[in-house]
């Protein structure tokens, strides 16, 4: 059966690409520290020697729209073009193309349906920065096939937090039941407290540093029960109006497993939002 080589949860900050590649007067003062943290984070994936990446993210009204909105969707295609005109425009993100792994995607779809998740699928999916940001930070050569999984954290009504945790647990089981000798890393990105388009946006820190502190604790300690006892669809409005993206972190806690302490934990307090990076090695820290 396939091996889960690493489980990785991260924020996906679309400003990283521009900040990390800027030079001279254009380079922001926080860029060097940010790059150093990302390079350390990248090493946690590199040393897991993955063959395939399962990538959990969320479409930002690019291909998925309100006339036909899936809650959870698996991309099953030989290739995925990536990034969109408005991401190029606002963030300077490059166009990319990633290979897909249709075998693993098909396995996740078939067995996910049988496990009680009515997963939507797409055979022609152009992915956005929720998936390309972690490619840029963690695997900039973009040389591994992926299976993208999109969640709806964006267009209510949303699934409840517990459902994200359950989907994470199921994804872990599905990868581990895949008859293959491949090493699979499961990577998901979301947000800590975040406000977009509201009065608390673009402050000196994230909109709710206390929520961020607690969130990092929950994730780092694998405290699924503690997190679920405090986080609801209603409560997520309090830390910031885009904080429902935290549910993708909760999904990744489900992948890592209750009580699983992260092997790598890091964060960076930026203006506007806090960055956070976590890696677990379910089968032991690689040499």
């Amino acid at each position: 059966m396939a091996t889960v080589a690493a489980v990785i949860a991260s924020t996906h900050h679309p400003f990283y690409y521009r900040a990390s590649t800027a030079t001279g007067a254009d380079r922001p003062p926080f860029a060097d520290e940010w790059v150093a943290k990302i390079e350390a984070f990248r090493e946690t994936l590199t040393k897991a020697r993955p063959d395939i990446l399962v990538m959990v993210g969320s479409d930002h009204f690019h291909q998925l729209w309100l006339d036909n909105m899936p809650q959870f969707l698996v991309g099953k295609a030989p290739y995925f073009d990536a990034n969109w005109y408005n991401e190029e425009r606002e963030f300077g993100l490059p166009r990319m193309r990633l290979a897909g792994d249709e075998q693993l995607a098909g396995h996740i779809l078939r067995n996910g349906l049988d496990a009680g998740f009515d997963l939507a699928f797409s055979n022609e999916l152009r992915i956005d920065h929720s998936i390309t940001c972690p490619i840029i930070t963690l695997r900039p050569d973009a040389d591994l096939p992926i299976v993208p999984i999109y969640t709806n954290i964006f267009a209510p009504p949303l699934p409840r937090p517990g459902r994200f945790v359950e989907l994470g647990r199921t994804i872990r089981q599905l990868v581990e039941s895949w008859p293959s000798d491949k090493r699979v890393a499961i990577i998901g990105t979301g947000h800590l407290s975040l406000e977009l388009g509201g009065p608390r946006q673009f402050g000196a820190h994230g909109p709710d540093p206390e929520f961020d502190r607690k969130a990092v604790e929950w994730i780092a300690r694998g405290d699924v029960d503690g997190c679920l006892s405090e986080v609801t669809l209603d409560s997520l409005h309090e830390p910031g109006n885009a904080t429902h993206g935290f549910m993708d972190f909760m999904l990744m806690m489900g992948v890592a497993g209750a009580g699983a302490k992260a092997d790598h934990v890091d964060s960076l307090d930026l203006f506007h939002t806090m960055e956070a990076y976590f890696t677990w090695y379910p089968n032991g820290v690689p040499a």
Partner: protein, 119 residues
């Protein structure tokens, strides 16, 4: 009230570079044209088939015609769509992050709970 239609306007303008410029330069004309020609176009579907029932309320139309992002927030338009499109139109007229910060300040009078964005 149609939060969906507001969002559909923001979404279809934002993804087309020519329409972004057109809406920036001629908001009222673009809204009128869009409501007439595109409001009932079913996206990602057979061409030629249209819906028959979508139109803005007066307040929605006014907010779009006046680039009034505060009113759009109050009407429950999706804040990500509004922010993304307005950054595309107006960030260029300001220094780094100035526009984003002013955009937030214009909403400072609001407190939780924010208007419901469910469609």
């Amino acid at each position: 009230m149609s939060k969906y239609l507001l969002n559909k306007f923001l979404y279809t303008i934002d993804r087309d570079p020519e329409l972004v410029e057109r809406y920036r330069e001629d908001a009222a004309g673009t809204v009128s044209w869009w409501e007439q020609e595109l409001a009932n176009e079913i996206l990602n579907c057979h061409t030629g088939e249209r819906s028959t029932w979508l139109s803005f309320t007066d307040e929605e139309r006014r907010a779009l015609r006046e680039h009034d992002h505060v009113a759009l927030f109050g009407l429950g338009a999706h804040p990500f769509l509004t922010l993304t499109l307005f950054i595309a139109m107006f960030e260029r007229d300001h220094g780094p992050l100035e526009y984003q910060k002013a955009y937030g300040r214009a909403l400072q009078h609001l407190s939780l709970p924010y208007p419901d964005i469910a469609t």
